[in-house]
Structures are given as structure tokens and as C-alpha cells.
Symmetry: C2
């Protein structure tokens, strides 16, 4: 009963997964990762959330920058700019290796699952990292500036456009990646966690893959989310602005309502009011700045899951 599954997006999710690795045997953790942010850039297959997890778990992440590799160099971008290539999305020299090799292996017919497992193994990562699907799913946004793909909205336009609706292109036709449903429905599992990633942009794409939401509902193990709200704000990224644009209060009620039917419990921050929260919950300091913070949140969310499991 030690296996743990975690649904995760980018930076915030990677922090929780790193914390879980300190409190669980890494071989017992399976991360199911959002690939709705994936896109082709310069012809290369870029998987931002998978890469953030690979960098974070192998100790290569640039923590201060929040994305990419520590100690990265930028000769490629400099040369690309001198040739008039697209420079709105930054690809570091070392980071390029993931995208070039992934593109090569996908072109040879390998799946994103296989490629991801290979990269994780090459970097000594012991937990299982699974993309939510091997099929392309692309998060798109209807905004006051028109239709935008995720990276155009997030990176190029820095989340400035007001979001009216979100949809996940290709989701209806996508299948869960091999192992995803088995991991969720494994009867010997201790907990299924949802990382404090953006529920609308990073977790919803995972839930949009046919079969995953049903598997979560049917799972024997408790499903527990870590709320991305801390002190009435989202910790980072576009969550605060996005929730306002979607007409949602910046509260844990909104998070609980959003995950209704999926989660059995919510871990919330001590700064936020829990009055009348329509779900089982536990309270801790959920801000994850240090490795100790990450361990604490990992322990707290597992403790809540264990309490729900009874």
C-alpha cells in the first residue's frame, strides 16, 4: 500500500513530486503529466511539463528562473536570431538536446511514453513519469485577442489576453498513455494526488483524456488535491488572473467545486478560510520554497489521503 500516483503540470507540480520523492520510495511514485502545453517549435517536439519534471527530479532545474536548466548557455538562440529565426520562445543549448532527441525518436515511430521513460532512466530518475497520453492534445484559449495556442498565450503574450474559454484540441480522440489507467485503478495504491498546478490549464487537460476522469471516480484509493490557492492568491503563473476572467472567486471553494466528483479531499493553506468547505480537508503551510517545504506538503497530503482511506 505504498504506491502513490500524482497528476501534475509544470513547476508547482514538480515541486510536490520532488517532495514526494523524499517521503516515499521513488520507485513507488507514478507521475501522470499534462501534455496539453506540448507543441512543435522550430519543427521540434517540445513537452514543457515533462521537461520541467525531468529537470527538477534530476537536479538540473533552474530554480530561480522557474523553467529550463541551471547553468544554461544561449549560443543557439543568438545564432538563430542572427539568421532571423523565431525567438519568442527560448530554447537553451542544453535544453535543445531533449527536444532534438525526442523529435528524432518520435519521427522513428517511438511513443512519447517510451521516449520519456528513456530520458528519465538516462538521468537516474527512479519514479515513473508518464505523459497523460501519447496522442497529441493541445490546450487552446479563446481570448479577447482571438484564438491562441497555449504557448502563444503563456510565453509570447505573457498571459495578457483575457481568457473566455479553454479547450483541449484532440482530447476527444486521445487515449490515456499505456499504464495510466492501470496506475490509477491499481487496488494496492495508497493515494492519488493532484498537484497544485493550475486546475484549468494544467490538470483539466489530463482530466479531458477519455477514461482518466472515470478511472479517478472509480479508483479505490482516495484522490486528494493540493490547492493552488495560498492566502487568497494563486502562488504563481496565470491562475489568479485566469480565475477572475472565468468569473470565479479566488477561494478554496472554487477549487473544491472545480474538482467536484474527482477528489475526496483538499489540502489547503493555513492562511485561507476553510469555513463551509464542502469536502474533507487538511491545513498546512502549502507554500513550497525550500526542499523542506516540499517534504512537508508531501507528508501532509499523504496524511490527508490516509485519513480519508481510514
Amino acid at each position: 500500500m505504498s504506491r502513490v500516483v500524482v497528476l501534475t503540470g509544470g513547476v508547482g507540480g514538480a515541486k510536490l513530486v520532488l517532495g514526494l520523492m523524499k517521503v516515499c520510495p521513488p520507485q513507488e511514485v507514478t507521475a501522470i503529466v499534462n501534455t496539453g502545453d506540448d507543441f512543435r517549435h522550430l519543427g521540434l517536439a517540445v513537452s514543457p511539463d515533462i521537461d520541467t519534471l525531468l529537470y527538477t527530479l534530476s537536479g538540473k532545474a533552474n530554480a530561480s528562473q522557474g523553467w529550463g536548466r541551471e547553468g544554461e548557455s544561449w549560443s543557439f538562440m543568438d545564432a538563430l536570431k542572427s539568421l532571423g529565426g523565431e525567438d519568442w520562445f527560448l530554447l537553451g543549448d542544453g535544453d535543445l538536446a531533449l527536444h532534438v532527441l525526442r523529435s528524432q525518436l518520435l519521427a522513428k515511430g517511438q511513443t512519447l511514453s517510451t521516449v520519456t521513460a528513456r530520458f528519465a532512466a538516462a538521468w537516474g530518475i527512479e519514479l515513473s513519469i508518464m505523459p497523460m497520453s501519447d496522442d497529441p492534445v493541445a490546450t487552446h484559449l479563446a481570448t479577447d485577442e482571438g484564438h491562441l495556442s497555449f504557448q502563444r498565450y503563456f510565453v509570447e503574450r505573457r498571459c495578457a489576453p483575457a481568457v473566455q474559454a479553454i479547450h483541449f484540441e484532440g482530447a476527444e480522440a486521445a487515449a490515456p498513455a499505456p499504464g495510466v489507467i492501470d496506475a490509477i485503478t491499481d487496488p494496492d495504491i495508497r493515494a492519488i494526488l493532484i498537484a497544485p498546478s493550475n486546475p484549468w490549464l494544467s490538470v483539466d487537460p489530463i482530466l479531458a483524456v477519455p477514461g482518466i476522469r472515470d478511472a479517478l471516480a472509480a479508483a479505490k484509493a482516495p484522490v486528494v488535491a493540493v490547492s493552488p490557492i495560498v492566502g487568497g492568491q494563486a502562488v504563481k503563473g496565470p491562475t489568479t488572473k485566469l480565475m477572475a476572467e472565468l468569473g470565479l472567486a479566488l477561494t478554496n471553494h472554487s477549487i473544491a467545486n472545480h474538482y467536484a466528483g474527482v477528489i475526496d479531499g483538499l489540502l489547503i493553506d493555513g492562511r485561507d478560510d476553510a469555513t463551509g468547505l464542502p469536502i474533507e480537508f487538511a491545513v498546512t503551510d502549502t507554500l513550497m520554497k525550500t526542499l523542506e517545504d516540499r517534504e512537508r506538503v508531501g507528508r501532509a497530503v499523504l496524511a490527508l489521503a490516509d485519513r480519508i482511506a481510514g
Copy 2:
């Protein structure tokens, strides 16, 4: 009567072209470049001879190394190795920009000619650089170790296998790139030069593209080659070893015989015997170490062409 066309391969050819730029108006020079060395590596379109020319003419070449960019960094290769990617062919971080952008533009349906012209313009190169063909032509070698593609032979095996025969896959079906035949047959041209690149590996692929050899034979302008032989040796690369394996004497006679029917004159080095050379020739110091050397060879080959033109 100032236009000059030069057929060229890699490093040695780029030296001559650089010399020509000092003695002719660059806008009046057209370089027709071997693409038989081109290949897909890691899924990227690599054009080694075009790139050597781009780097040389824009002042970016690593002169001591003989290939690639000056001041290159290697974060990509380090990361690629850590992921278990192929590392027998080195791609520098800055160098990658050419290959990634070229691959992207080719995938969008642009031709190699168009992409090459765009890169040259972006880097302020005023002469015309034309690939010999926009169609794929690949130099392959039959060796005592079996069949090898050019880069496997040249880079991975460092020319160690004994070459028995050379062929240019795709050449029969290839068309000269737009402008190539017009440049050669332009009646107002001063000279057509063949750079001191390897005649078998770097110039023959150009001559193998249907139409180019006939255009050279029909050209009004004199066709003059710079011999790659200096003091009974080839200056660099596998020419010396290759000629021995093909049963050829390391002499200018062999070069003259090889280009029989194509050239009207041969510029040879003063260290080599010219007795009985069955072609018009001129003598200079053809070793190109400094920029002054390159200018001298450029002047000498044009003077020979002018003498033949009468």
C-alpha cells in the same frame, strides 16, 4: 566581363572563395556548392559544405579546427550524450541554429537554394551561394568495410576504410538548382573556377548532376581548376589516401586527366613537376594559409583564365 563562377566543396574551396572575394566584387561571384555531403543527423538537415562557406565568408569559421564556428560552445552535445543520443558527429550550440532553422524551412516546403540565400543575406554575405541541386544527392562509398555514407566514412571512421568506388545516390534524378546552369552559361562571364577541393569526393558530385558537366563543356568562359596537389601531396583531408586507393599517382597529371573534357586550364603549385602536363597551366604557391595566400591564388587562377580567354 567580371562575373566569376566557382565550383566548390568544403574547407579548401571556402579558402579560395574567400580569396576571390578580395580580388573580385563579391556581388560578381557565384559559388556552386557540393551537397553530396549533406545528410540528416538527429533528424536535422546538415549541409556541411554550404555551412563551411557561410561561416568562412561571414567571418565565423573556426580556422584552427577547420570546421564549425569560432568560439563554439558544446552544452547541446553534453546533454545529448547524457541522454544516450548519437555523439559521433559533433554539433555545436551555435551551429545547431543553421540545422534547426534549415530543417524547419525545408519542412515548410522551401528549397535548399532559398534557405541558403536567406542565411547568406542574414549574415551579410554578398556573393551568391547556390547548392548544386535542391534535390537530395548523397555521396556513398564502397569500401573494404562495406558500404558507407559519406559522413560515416569521413567523420565516424575518419577515412580509415579503403575506398573501392564512389557513387552519388540520387544524382541521376537530381536537377541543377535554379540559377546554376544560367550562371555557368552566362556569355558575359569571366571565368569558371574549380576550387582545390577533393575532385572525387567534393567536385564529382557537382559534375554528376545532369546538365552541369554539359554546361561546363559548352560554356564560353574558360574553366580553370586549382589543383589540390601541393608538393606531391594533397593539402588536407582524405585526398592523398583516396587517390592511392583508387590506383592514381599523386600528380597533377592525375588531376588533369580526371578533369579532361571539363577544364581548359590548371593552376598548380611550384613544388610540383609540370613536365608534359596535357593542359594549359600556370604555377604559383597554391598553399593557402593566410588571407594573402588566398588572394594570391585567387589572382593567379583568374590570370590563367584570362590568358586562356585570350
